[in-house]
Amino acid sequence: MSDNRAKSDILQGMLDMLVLKVVAHEPLHGYGVAQRLRLLSQDRLQIPQGSLYPALHRLENRGLLKSQWRDTATGREAKFYELTAKGRRRLDEEVSGWRELSVAISMIIGTT
């Protein structure tokens, strides 16, 4: 299960940003968020599912996400998370912050 040995040292802040980003497109349930993260990163990122739920609840608690119980395509009830206005603002900030940071890091790495 080598693919399961995730990059568990992903910083909490980064996980929050990725979760916000994934949920920004459409409301998703927890399992959906995990799947989407895996798909979008083409299996490069395997979020430890154990830390996904604490993150979702933490973001909801801070008012960055809101949740709703509704039926899935398969007709089962699940908790769907979506972005709040506050969450969208935070996502924008985080993303632009990350862009600047990654540009800076690439520049440094590129020069050596």
Binding site: H29, G50, Y53, L56, E77
Partner: protein, 898 residues
């Protein structure tokens, strides 16, 4: 959702979280099956990638932020449920805690009121008393003229006031006189102290200008309330104190008692009224005239000085006070150069009076601290009992705990739950303890006080007491919850499941924590029992002291001739009538009069000069004096050892004669025969020693024998006596009323303060020791009882857990006696361990106890051996029942339980 809403919607959230996680797992499994895994593989894979579901839930709950609150709520409810399930245990625990914490809070309320609390005044930190330092025989009294000079020298922002110690006087408002507590003060006193009036006005500098010219008084709120029902018409009315009519000009603020903690002053009177109020106490007289007004006299030092000095000017104020004082000393100091140099070493210092003055503090602070420690130790022992009980229960619950740990509950979470349980218990006990504290505090005050009215010390139910009780409750809960919590934290799944909670050990029984607790209980009990023993033996030793006179057959009547308004020329006939009347009373064999009675608490001390002797500077030339009628020595039972007693031939016109005691003769005359030697108050040696009387502790039992000089009353007929002694032959209960009637028959208005045996008076002087001894015995007994319960519980538990081992031993032929001995040996080894530890704990106590014991060493071997023996006996008794039970184990039953 608010956190409150979330807290109460907890069950719903919990349900949702379950659904959410389950949904996740099922979706994952479905996906994995679709990807080609078998259902079993898929289920395993899904679980592995999620981690333990309980753990995820726990972390998610934590992430919600209110987890601690929810946990707390959950834990508290769990704790309350557990407590309800075991009502017997809960009741015992809560009761133990209520008493334990309550006793601590009660002692604390006393300690706080007496030792810690500042006076209920504005900026008490600015209050100081002026004290002398630098010389040996420093006293804190000043003359009025010197007070005035010192006051004038101080900076603008500082104030200085003078006051007398509280004095008992007779007040009459209309009908019968009653005893009140009064204080003479200078006009600056109220402004300096900083108190407001509740009605009318207070005394000011304008009330203390002309000698005998200000017949006014301010009464305290307490007296206003007690005597006048807070009637506003009292202000402006006349109150006669010691015969002098005074106008009540105002009432001081509610709650103001004066500056002495534990003493309620009823009335304050301007100091210039001293002679009118016949105030004649506590003066240090150097060439003064006691029967003339004291205010203008340099030689009469009779006032304490209290100052209000802001922190910024303390330094300059002390400097200026000393400048004036040193100047005064230069003028007044003795001519002898060495003596002069010595006297000039005197310095004035400002001692903080923020917590008030208190003779009670000096008298009770050592015993109170000992008390606080003792009662704290009792609580610790009680904690150990509760800890053992909880420990036993948590051991019984070890399987449940192990199951929860394996389901993903973190140890921290379980520890918190155990602690919540102990804290809940402690807080319920703490709440109940307030009742105990209130009742206990009042009872302590009554026990500590000698007078019928009790000590007027306010023990309010204030925030300080509540905070103390709350703090102690928390601490208690933590202490007795810690052991079970540690046990939970160390929970070892493997062992627990393997042994099924059974113990098969022979020698090393498990539960070492429990043994540690029992051993420390016994150690602490040893300390408390030893302390109780030391106090009891101290009291016994003190009571056994021979005071040097007869204590049971002598009755003393305290009277106040001055307050009855007698002039000096009418004293001699009065004295004769008193002697005749009391002598004629039934049951009285002989009678005498004296200036100061035995065990009376007041004394006159003078400096003596022996002609032709040179003394080193600072030599204490003081001796205590008394004036007595000729029958005094025979009446009180003080034998004359050499020379003669006083007789009718010693009168105002004959040469002055004195009788000294052995201590005085030894100190001043050494090995010389004192009979015929002469001395005086100055170089004029006008007194001749005619007799030597046996040494006696005339003031109190604890004292070193004072040096005494007796004068015949007939040679100083202008002195006001305060005591009548009668040697009796009948029962005390009958003679006392007869003596009272006899005194009243002479003068109805002569105030009688007290009529009682000298023995009773001496015992009253040991109030402090009696108080300490009674409480220490109570705590010692409580400690031994708690420790024996703890020991019994521990041994019973250990026997119960070893039932099958004991059964096998018996089945294999061990005799019941051997099994009994096995258990007793275990018990005694615990006790012995405790005693060893206790001895170590006792060592540092030795120094602290030195001042509190009398006639024995604080490490008195007999007391320690007795205490240790007592605890061994109690220990053996506590082990006897389990031992007997162990020897009666039926092997068949024991093995069937397997």
């Amino acid at each position: 959702m608010t956190w409150l809403g979330r807290l109460f919607g907890r069950a719903k959230l919990e349900r949702e979280l379950n659904t959410e996680i389950r949904f996740h797992l099922e979706e994952h499994i479905r996906g994995l099956i679709a990807a080609g895994l078998t259902p079993d593989q898929a289920r395993r894979e899904a679980r592995m990638s999620l981690g333990g579901p309980e753990q995820v839930k726990e972390e998610t709950r934590d992430a919600r932020g209110t987890a601690w609150l929810e946990d707390w709520w959950h834990d508290t409810r769990f704790a309350l449920r557990t407590m309800r399930r075991a009502p017997g245990f809960t009741a015992a625990a809560v009761l133990t805690l209520a008493v334990g914490i309550g006793a601590n809070s009660a002692v604390f309320s006393l300690v706080d009121a007496l030792l810690l609390k500042t006076l209920p005044l504005n900026r008490p930190d600015q209050l100081f008393v002026v004290a002398r330092a630098g010389v040996q025989d420093a006293n804190e009294r000043f003359s009025y003229p010197r007070f005035s000079r010192l006051r004038a020298s101080l900076p603008e922002s500082a104030g200085l006031a003078a006051m007398t110690p509280a004095a008992r006087m007779f007040a009459a408002f209309g009908a019968t006189p009653e005893v009140v507590t009064t204080q003479l003060v200078s006009g600056e006193w109220f402004p300096v102290v900083g108190v407001a009036p509740a009605a009318g006005r207070l005394l000011g500098p304008g009330d203390n200008q002309t000698l005998s010219g200000h017949p006014v008084t301010v009464i305290s709120y307490a007296y206003w309330n007690r005597r006048f029902g807070r009637s506003p018409s009292v202000v402006g009315s006349t109150l006669r104190i010691n015969g002098t009519p005074l106008t009540v000009v105002g009432v001081s603020a509610e709650g103001f008692f004066g500056l002495t903690v534990g003493e309620q002053v009823d009335a304050w009177i301007p100091a210039v009224m001293q002679i009118d109020l016949r105030y004649h106490q506590n003066a240090s007289n150097t060439d003064g005239e006691t029967e003339r007004p004291w205010v203008p006299q340099e030689g009469m030092a009779w006032l304490w000085l209290v100052a209000r000095v802001p922190a910024a000017v303390v330094g300059p104020s002390v400097a200026r006070l000393n400048k004036v004082n040193t100047e005064d000393l230069r003028q007044l100091a003795a001519t002898d150069t060495a003596e002069r140099r010595y006297r000039l070493q005197e310095r004035l210092v400002l001692n903080s009076a923020a917590r008030g003055l208190s003779p009670l503090r000096e008298e009770f602070s050592d015993p109170l601290v000992a008390l606080m420690i003792s009662v704290g130790l009792v609580l610790l022992i009680a904690c150990a009992n509760l800890a053992s009980l909880l420990l036993a229960r948590s051991t019984a619950r070890s399987r449940e705990i192990a199951v929860r740990v394996s389901l993903g509950a973190r140890p921290g979470r379980l520890v918190r739950q155990v602690l919540t349980e102990s804290l809940t218990l402690a807080l319920i006990g703490g709440a109940l303890s307030i009742v105990v504290a209130r009742a206990g505090g009042a009872a302590l005050l009554r026990a500590a006080s000698s007078s019928k009215r009790g000590i007027p010390l306010d023990l309010p139910l204030d925030l300080r007491l509540l905070a103390f009780a709350f703090g102690i409750s928390l601490l208690t809960g933590l202490i007795f919850g810690l052991a079970p919590a540690a046990q939970v934290a160390r929970a070892n799944l493997y062992d627990t499941f393997k042994t099924g909670g059974r113990v098969t050990g022979g020698r090393g029984v498990k539960l070492p924590l429990g043994r540690v607790l029992v051993v420390s209980q016994i150690a602490l009990s040893l300390v408390l029992v030893v302390v109780a023993g030391l106090f009891a033996r101290t009291l016994h030793n003190l009571l056994a002291i021979d005071p040097g006179y007869d204590r049971e057959q002598v009755v003393e009547a305290r009277i106040d001739v001055r307050a009855a308004g007698y002039d000096q020329e009418h004293l001699a006939p009065l004295y004769q009538r008193l002697l005749d009347a009391v002598r004629a009373a039934p049951g009285v064999r002989s009678v005498s009069l004296s200036l100061h009675g035995l065990a009376g608490g007041s004394a006159r001390t003078s400096g003596l000069t022996i002609p032709g002797e040179s003394r080193p500077p600072g030599f204490d030339n003081a001796a205590q004096e008394n004036l007595v009628t000729p029958e005094y020595f025979a009446t009180v039972g003080m034998p004359i050892l050499r020379g003669r007693g006083f007789g009718p031939y010693d009168g105002p016109k004959t040469p002055q004669v004195v009788i000294v005691n052995e201590a005085m003769a030894r100190y001043f005359f050494g090995s010389r025969d004192p009979i015929g030697l002469r001395f005086g108050y100055d170089e004029n040696a006008n007194m001749e020693v005619v007799g030597v009387v046996r040494d006696a502790k005339v003031n109190e039992l604890r004292e070193a024998t004072p040096r005494m000089v007796f004068h015949p009353l007939a040679q100083a007929p202008e002195e006001f006596i305060s005591s009548i002694e009668a040697r009796i032959s009948g029962p005390v209960a009958l003679v006392v009323p007869a003596v009272k009637r006899a005194v009243a028959s002479v003068d109805q208005n002569l105030p009688i303060r007290d009529v009682t045996t000298v023995g009773e008076l001496l015992e009253r002087g040991l109030q402090r020791e009696q108080f300490a001894s009674e409480l220490a015995s109570l705590f010692g007994a409580l400690a031994a009882l708690l420790a024996s319960i703890g020991l019994y519980g521990m041994i019973s538990y250990s026997v119960a857990r070893r039932t099958n081992e004991l059964g096998i031993r018996l089945a294999l032929g061990a005799k019941p006696k051997e099994v009994r001995w096995l258990v007793i040996r275990e018990t005694l080894s615990l006790v012995a361990g405790g005693l060893g530890l206790g001895l170590l704990l006792l060592l540092p106590l030795v120094g602290a106890m030195r001042r509190l014991v009398y006639g024995l060493s604080p490490r008195d071997p007999a007391t320690i051996v007795f205490a240790a023996g007592l605890l061994l006996l109690i220990g053996a008794l506590a082990g006897a029942i389990p031992a007997w039970r162990a020897s009666r184990v039926d092997p068949a039953t024991a093995l069937r339980a397997e």
